[in-house]
């Protein structure tokens, strides 16, 4: 019942936030915050009381409930939480709080409707992470799109219409392809077992012969790869990110990308073992191309949010690499990259949003040498850029190292070429720091040509450094990253039973 309660809180919280706007314009963000704090308590409670004893062997599912929904097609409201989805829930709720923190000062007109959409997107995402019935999974998969579209379309920046439309059509069409694939699976279950079923466990024993299994698996892969985003299907992300409001970007990068990766781990590979085995080299090549190509593109960008968006694609390439290595290292690596990337990219987007909020531009060319004026913000930016390039001792390194380790076991060439990505990562991360925070002080509305000491007392353009709310968010994320870097065992132990179950169920079909 916990999962249903969690989703209910978010739905009701969203509606309340919208309604409360009529009373006072500052009320919606408070209601949203309260709703998020409640859900955080819920999730943490779920973690604590299940975590210690959950390590009992075989006890992989913490929570597993099933109610009948559409009898005609054998569709059930089946929700389950295990180590992997629990971690994802924690990330979702945590980043939800960060998103509210980011939107605290930024969203001023129609806040009620904004927090309504924010919380409904989160509810959709919580649904995706816990659904174990493929139809329910698809249902939540689409539900989280509409509010996200509205967030980008209403509160976005200059050409938000194009970006929102592109985001929506991309994910929707790939969703339809996913739906056909799910339908095929369900129909073959009907042919082989006499009745329709969308149950995750029952569908695992559906046997599809060679070529057809590859096609259905491709349907799943395209559906998830667009969301991941993997190389050829990634071009919606930079537009969506550069136009979305900061809170939208935090949600998009931190949480929505993870649903794609989660889908791959939970559905795309376990349901089609042989097809996944043959497809693994192709998927790893796509991952490697994604890593290098998007790293190169990131280097060429002047818009800071587009740059971070491309880096996200590059990082998610490591996740794809890890998943299709399909051994314990690759999977755990993919998981850690997902968690760490969630925090790093959200923080970077909030920083970019902060800069845009202060200087009303995202163009890196127009601002430099901010270290003098904004020491705290620059220090945070430095910290998160270094985390992004995979500095050991922080979360990203653990994810990337394990993914590459796993990938190396499966396919030497892919791992070695992907390792080059580490070099590119350092090139563009430090480039951002150099371009924006080092060098002579210069901002759009205040440029000192001679590069001398900035006029301290120049009133009209004195940008304010981090506010307390922002500082709180950033330090929380920084602590999270250090925790993941220094003692990742908490997360790895939590996900370990799921991963070994998935590997066992496949019988190490993959190399």
């Amino acid at each position: 019942m916990i999962v249903v309660w969690l989703i209910l809180i978010l739905f009701v919280g969203g509606a309340l936030a919208w309604a409360s706007e009529a009373l006072d314009s500052r009320l919606p963000r408070l209601t949203a915050l309260i709703a998020m704090v409640f859900s955080l308590i819920f999730v943490v409670m779920l973690c604590l009381d299940n975590f210690p004893d959950q390590l009992s062997p075989g006890g992989q599912w913490l929570v597993l409930e099933k109610w009948s929904w559409i009898a005609r097609f054998g569709i059930f409201l089946q929700v389950g939480v295990d180590g992997l989805s629990l971690l994802m829930l924690v990330l979702t709720v945590f980043l939800g709080l960060m998103a509210i923190g980011a939107a605290w000062h930024e969203i001023t007109e129609r806040p009620g409707f904004f927090y309504f959409n924010l919380l409904w997107t989160l509810a959709g995402v919580v649904g995706v992470f816990t659904a174990l019935d493929l139809f329910l999974f698809f249902f939540f998969w689409e539900v989280m799109l509409i509010p996200m579209y509205l967030i980008i379309a209403i509160w976005g920046h200059e050409n938000r219409a194009y970006a929102a439309m592109k985001f929506f059509v991309f994910t929707q069409v790939s969703g339809l392809i996913l739906l056909i694939a799910i339908m095929c699976l369900a129909y073959f279950h009907f042919v082989q077992f006499g009745r329709f079923s969308f149950d995750y466990f029952e569908l695992q024993n559906v046997v599809l012969e060679g070529r057809f299994q590859m096609l259905v698996m491709l349907g799943f892969f395209i559906g998830f790869a667009t969301k991941l985003p993997a190389f050829p299907l990634h071009s919606w992300l930079p537009d969506a990110h550069s136009q979305a409001p900061t809170a939208g970007s935090v949600l998009l990068a931190g949480v929505l990308l993870k649903t794609g990766a989660y889908g791959l781990i939970r559905f795309a590979v376990p349901l089609f073992p042989e097809a996944a085995a043959d497809f693994a080299p192709v998927a790893m090549t796509i991952a490697v191309i994604g890593i290098l190509y998007c790293a190169k593109l990131a280097f060429a960008q002047t818009d800071i949010k587009r740059l971070i968006a491309y880096t996200s694609v590059s990082h998610m390439g490591f996740v794809l690499l890890g998943v299709y290595a399909w051994n314990i290292y690759g999977l755990q690596g993919a998981l850690m990259t997902m968690l760490a990337h969630g925090l790093t990219s959200s923080a970077l987007f909030m920083l970019a949003g902060g800069l845009q909020h202060r200087f009303h531009t995202r163009d890196m060319g127009k601002m430099s040498g901010l270290w003098a004026q904004l020491p705290m913000m620059s220090a945070m930016a430095l910290f998160f850029s270094i985390a992004a390039l995979g500095m050991p001792g922080l979360g990203n390194f653990i994810g990337e190292f394990l993914s590459l380790l796993g990938a190396f076991q499966a396919n030497h060439a892919a791992a070695i070429v992907a390792a080059l990505g580490l070099i590119f990562a350092s090139v563009y991360s430090l480039w951002v720091i150099q371009r924006v925070f080092h060098g002579p002080y210069h901002t759009p509305n205040h440029s000192t040509d001679c590069g001398s000491e900035p006029a301290r007392d120049d009133p009209h353009n004195h940008p304010t450094d981090l506010s307390r709310a922002e500082l709180l968010c950033y330090s929380a994320m920084a602590l999270g990253l250090v925790w993941m870097g220094m003692y990742p065992q908490t997360f790895l132990a939590m996900a370990e039973p799921t991963m070994s179950y998935l590997l066992a169920s496949l019988g190490e079909v993959l190399p």
Binding site: R72, F73, L145, L150, I154, V169
Partner: protein
């Protein structure tokens, strides 16, 4: 005609009675409110009578009409749609000075024609129903409105519709005549026997294929499938809004139900040729319909194009109907068609309903610009309109998504990969123009264009909109009940 059979025809009788009484009412004293009330109560009584009819087992009332669960379900659907349109058109026609009452007459008789079509298993009744419906529609489409700038539109639309509809009836009749000449019976049954082997000493199978294709072309015209769709946008745009709504909903339901009945009884689908034709028409409709609507800014034309596309999706499900009664592994086809029809009716009624509430006979708000910033001017209407559009686009939480899911299921069962691919591409394109409207509603309006303030007479339409929204969301989230109902309905086929 035993007493019991007469009871079975109760809905038809009541609707005829309402038409006559409304006519008498108009003759005595012309009062807009009274005639609208009379028609509405008549339709409602017919709806109630269905409960009585439902008790009796399925049986043929004279070889012309078959009253079974299939007939009852679609009669109910048509009556509900007609009732909604009558109530919507009342505020719409209020500011028309004279001859407002005749509109309700036309609605009653047209509904009668539709009911006959739905119940027919015999070409005479089918033809009779089709013609009654069409002739009444000519009248409704040509209903004179006082918009100086576009006064001649309704007349132009009606003439076009008349000529083309007459030609298509000609095709149907000639096809039926050829079939009658060979099989000797006007009943739908066993045309398939002719198609597969051809009569022993008579002409070969081609004769029967041509004859059936003639009939199907006529039906395709009414469903506005692609090669025969050119009339749709002009008639939808020209006609007044209630007429367009009537044409888009009841015109399509009756025809689709008739086609389904004809397909499953006559076993036309056994021949590969016919299924080929239908498949081609479906793909062309989906791609054509969506492409046509892509950059359209007149909402009525846009909805007409989207109806073409939706009929294309319908035909995909239609193709997978297994000709055998209820088929061995109970094909999903007929269920998918009826579910999609219900969903389509609710969505179109909702969309047209919002447009009707916002406009009236004097000033129709059918351009996309009129709806700019609707979200911030009238959130309730905007919410309903967005829900309808998203449902048309097939987004979850709505009945449209479940309908599309059903068609997907049918498509997968019939292994129609090409059609499913077309459907995905079509839906992809479809997203563009539905979302364009939603986005237009989001962008705030700089100058204020005040909407008609909702007076007391608007309470009913808003009530209906609420019902439609509920009918959209509830089956979208919990479709179980509707699915079981449709399963029993389709058993009768």
């Amino acid at each position: 005609m035993t007493g019991e059979q007469l009871l079975l025809l109760l809905p038809l009788i009541i609707v005829t009675a309402t038409a006559v009484i409304t006519m008498l009412g108009v003759a005595i004293k012309r009062n807009h409110a009274v005639s609208c009330l009379l028609t509405a109560t008549g339709l409602f009584l017919a709806l109630l009578s269905l409960i009585i009819v439902a008790q009796y087992p399925a049986q043929e009332v004279t070889p012309l009409l078959l009253v079974d669960s299939f007939n009852e379900f679609f009669t109910a659907l048509i009556l509900l749609a007609a009732l909604a349109i009558t109530l919507f058109s009342y505020p719409y026609l209020c500011n028309l000075e004279d001859h407002q009452d005749e509109f309700y007459l036309l609605i009653a008789i047209a509904t009668l024609g539709a009911l006959v079509m739905v119940g027919s298993t015999h070409f005479i009744t089918a033809f009779l129903g089709m013609e009654t419906l069409s002739v009444c529609l000519y009248g409704m489409v040509a209903y004179p409105l006082h918009r100086e700038s576009t006064a001649q539109y309704p007349m132009e639309a009606s003439i076009k519709y008349l000529v083309l509809s007459a030609v298509s009836s000609g095709f149907v009749l000639f096809g039926v005549a050829l079939l009658y000449a060979q099989t000797g019976t006007l009943h739908f049954s066993d045309i398939s026997v002719g198609i597969t082997q051809g009569i022993a000493n008579g002409p070969g199978a081609e004769y029967f294929i041509v004859a059936s294709l003639l009939v199907i072309t006529g039906f395709a015209f009414k469903l506005s499938l692609v090669p025969f769709h050119l009339w749709t946008p002009d008639v939808y745009e020209g006609a007044p809004l209630p007429a367009t709504a009537f044409l888009a909903t009841i015109g399509k339901i009756a025809m689709a139900a008739l086609l389904m009945r004809f397909m499953s009884i006559s076993g036309v689908l056994d021949s590969a040729a016919i299924t080929h034709v239908l498949a081609v028409m479906a793909v062309l409709s989906i791609i054509g319909g969506n492409l046509l609507a892509l950059l359209q800014s007149n909402l009525k034309r846009l909805l007409s194009y989207s109806s073409i596309a939706h009929m294309g999706y319908l035909v995909i499900a239609l193709i997978t109907i297994d000709s055998a009664m209820g088929g061995a592994n109970e094909s999903l086809g007929s269920e998918a068609v009826s579910f999609y029809l219900t969903a389509y009716v609710i969505m179109s009624l909702g969309a047209f309903g919002v447009m009707m509430v916002v406009s009236d006979s004097g000033h129709e708000r059918d351009h996309i610009g009129h709806y700019q910033g609707l979200f911030w001017r009238d959130p309730w209407l905007a919410l309903v309109f967005t829900a309808m559009l998203l449902s048309l686009a097939g987004i979850p939480l709505t009945i449209g998504f479940i309908g599309k899911f059903y068609v997907f299921a049918a498509g997968v069962q019939g292994a129609e990969w090409g059609l499913l691919a077309a459907m995905v591409i079509g839906s992809g394109i479809g997203l563009f123009y539905y979302l364009r409207i939603v986005y237009r509603m989001i962008t705030p309006l700089d100058h204020d264009d005040p909407l008609p303030v909702a007076g007391i007479r608007d309470v009913i339409p808003h009530g209906i909109l609420l019902l439609l929204l509920a009918a959209l969301i509830i089956p979208g989230v919990v479709p179980g009940a509707l699915m079981t109902l449709l399963q029993s309905v389709v058993q009768a086929l």
